[in-house]
């Protein structure tokens, strides 16, 4: 097959995929007339899986979030002590600058805001409902400290395992990556045990 034919074929297939996705989203819009409520988990999963195909095709990137936090931390650290940050192995291999993942996650916040705002689910709160129901409304400091420590554990673990619930849990598992299947199983086993110390 000639190069030009190959190119046309690729374009055709891309168009087909695009039409398919548009059609299915129209169908789903009809199913889900109640925009305010949560969508079915199967439908949401279907769309996230499709989104992964699109990021791989159009950006040559898997969906991944956790490295964003390391990039942001590095950007802040660079302001304090550039020579020290840029000497660290991690930042030598992953320069702390605006990159694909960084823009992706900032937009995730915006996308969620728009979904919540127009779905009338946007409301400002400092304590999760379940937490205040269980531990009282004055327990915000305790939640803050535990969530902060949780964040430390999580980003350390994500960097060591080289991915998170998105990067390993969806993108890596879909590619049948052994690292991802091991990691995601460990995320949930450990999470299910650790939650028993809180609730």
């Amino acid at each position: 097959m000639g190069k030009i034919e190959m190119k046309t074929m690729k374009k055709q297939i891309a168009l087909q995929i695009f039409i398919l996705v548009t059609l299915t989203s129209n169908v789903s819009a009809q199913i889900n007339n109640q925009i305010g409520g949560s969508w079915s988990p199967y439908l949401t999963g279907f769309f996230i899986g499709t989104l992964l195909l699109l990021t791989l095709y159009f950006s040559n990137k898997p969906i991944g979030v956790s490295s964003f936090y390391a990039t942001l931390a590095g950007m802040i650290g660079k302001r304090v002590s550039p020579s020290h940050i840029l000497k660290l192995d991690y930042y030598k291999n992953n320069p702390p600058e605006i990159n694909w993942e960084f823009v992706f996650v900032i937009s995730t916040v915006v996308g969620s805001f728009i979904a919540a705002y127009f779905g009338e689910e946007f409301n400002l709160s400092w304590v999760p409902q379940l937490w205040s129901n269980t531990f009282g409304t004055d327990s915000i400091t305790r939640y803050g400290i535990i969530a902060f420590i949780g964040g430390i554990f999580m980003s350390f673990g994500a960097r060591l395992a080289d991915g998170c619930t998105s990067g390993h849990g969806i993108s890596g598992t879909s590619q049948l990556n052994v690292a991802s299947w091991i990691s995601v199983i460990c995320f949930f086993i450990s999470g299910m045990i650790a939650i028993r110390f809180i609730y």
Partner: protein
């Protein structure tokens, strides 16, 4: 679409569109809620498992065909057994303590859950701690059980198509049970 010449702004523009959709979906799926994540870990609410498994089904089948037609390249991370297990277990503690994960925490902030700020600050501190130790970790934990790029079908020594069929049966059975 494997195109090396693309400009940086065009790449970032695509990232912003995809990120937007991702955040929109996380919010609509309900997984930006603290209660839904904690409910999953307590085995009371299976929204997270249902979303992840449906996404894997679609992603896995789609990736298999797109790759067969040479439309995408796989983006695989190397398997370091010790680092994956230890990192995974440490991650899980954070999962339970905060009630968020990196993607859903960002989405939680978007829907107005300001409590996610505590978690995000922790994420920044943890990242720096990891970076400080990255040299030591690269020379120790990362070398234990270093298998390089390894896929499930290579591990079980079966054909990729067969592996995918096995996974489809497995995932749909679990989804069926959860339903």
């Amino acid at each position: 679409m494997i195109n090396q010449k693309e400009s940086k702004s065009s790449k970032l523009m695509k990232a912003s569109i995809f990120g937007f959709i991702f955040g929109f979906l996380l919010q609509k799926g309900g997984v930006a809620k603290y209660e839904v994540i904690v409910g999953q870990l307590l085995l009371q609410d299976f929204t997270v498992a249902k979303i992840i498994m449906s996404a894997i089904l679609v992603g896995m089948i789609g990736i298999y065909f797109l790759q067969r037609f040479h439309l995408i390249e796989l983006q695989l991370k190397p398997t370091h057994i010790a680092a994956n297990i230890i990192g995974g277990l440490v991650f899980g503690i954070g999962f339970a303590f905060s009630g968020y994960c990196p993607g859903t925490g960002a989405a939680a902030l978007g829907q107005g859950n300001l409590n996610a700020i505590f978690y995000i600050l922790g994420m920044l501190v943890g990242s720096i701690i990891f970076a400080e130790l990255s040299k030591k970790l690269n020379n120790s934990v990362n070398k234990w059980g270093d298998k390089g790029i390894l896929s499930l079908n290579e591990f079980f020594k079966i054909r990729k198509g067969t592996m995918i069929l096995v996974m489809i049966v497995l995932l749909t059975s679990i989804l069926g049970l959860l339903n």
